[in-house]
Symmetry: C2
Subunit: 209 residues, 2 copies
């Protein structure tokens, strides 16, 4: 598997990444199961069997795509942990980082979020997702304990609702629109932390009264 393109010998053609990009786009459009190797080959402009020169199976294509999304998400957690500081600040980094990963790697993350766990490859991906969720939940707990977040809500419910909001971006966000990733991350954090209610509305008055 040539890492450096200048070392590639023989007839030039697709490499794994090129096929991967087209495959992931097709998987997202039709769904993984409904995408046949036939239409995939058609989109690539080559024969079905040519794909098997680059990947051993349809499953392996999915595996690579899911790994790219999961690695990026796990990297966000690593970065936040490395940054240190208050749990609330680290959580802020995770939320904004997750939005950026989602925007930057929209196709593979979209694919990841639709995995249901029918094959071994899918089950492994789901387990990595659950591990990610557990770490986020722990971060929320920590932030509640330090007094940064309200404690009347269960930490795992908070983590799930917040990431449910973030993950739902794949349903409608499309690159090239008016929304940039930074602006989107601001909006998500604004809703999650401060809510939608008018700041001068009854709730703040309640607190003062």
């Amino acid at each position: 598997m040539p890492e450096n393109t200048s070392l590639r010998r023989g007839r030039p053609g697709y490499d794994q990444q090129g096929i991967l990009d087209v495959a992931v786009a097709a998987f997202n459009e039709y769904g993984y199961d409904a995408t046949s190797m036939g239409v995939l080959a058609e989109r690539l402009g080559l024969s079905k069997s040519a794909i098997y020169h680059h990947f051993t199976s349809k499953d392996e294509i999915l595996d690579r795509a899911l790994d790219s999304a999961l690695a990026a998400l796990e990297g966000v957690l690593e970065d936040a942990d490395a940054a240190g500081g208050r749990a609330a600040d680290r959580l802020d980094l995770v939320l904004r980082g997750a939005v950026h990963v989602l925007v930057d790697r929209l196709p593979s993350v979209t694919l990841l979020l639709r995995v249901r766990g029918n094959t071994e490859v899918e089950r492994r991906a789901l387990e990595r997702r659950r591990a990610f969720d557990r770490r986020v939940t722990a971060l929320v707990s920590e932030a509640q304990a330090e007094g940064s977040l309200r404690s009347d809500l269960d930490a795992s419910v908070v983590a799930r609702l917040t990431f449910g909001m973030i993950n739902s971006l794949v349903e409608w966000y499309r690159p090239g629109g008016t929304e940039t990733a930074d602006r989107l991350a601001d909006d998500v954090v604004a809703v999650a932390l401060d809510g939608l209610r008018m700041p001068t509305s009854n709730r703040v008055e309640d607190l003062l009264g």
Copy 2:
């Protein structure tokens, strides 16, 4: 189609609803495309061909299931509109109502949220979903205009993020757990309207300073 069971003639067996429940559960487990009529028949304890006595096609099963979910969601909007009052109060009704529909009709709503629009049936369902989203967005706009919701966020982004949060419930909520529908609706509304930040935290102080 016998409405009254006492009127049913002939050999007793499955009716459409019984098959529908099993089918929707299987669709959610494996995905619609990956669920073959064969395994569906196996789960029902029937032959494949017996299913075609109750439905004309696999597509029709999907159509019925999606309609049940969409009708329930549209009913929530109707009820809120009928209730009248401030837009913010009607929005509150819609959010809580949507959570209840999601919990009460978890299987069919789950199915609806995974539709991608590959067949004509799926495209029709998607269009009804978009119409629903447009009405929610309009409600958010109205609530912003009356001063109940902060206006620094785009109404359609607010509507999408909020329903992204609600819809994500299908990913983890399971009946019979510690969370009741009412409690869940309270949590969702709490996060969406008031946010996660500690009420006594810096933001309120910022407002006062």
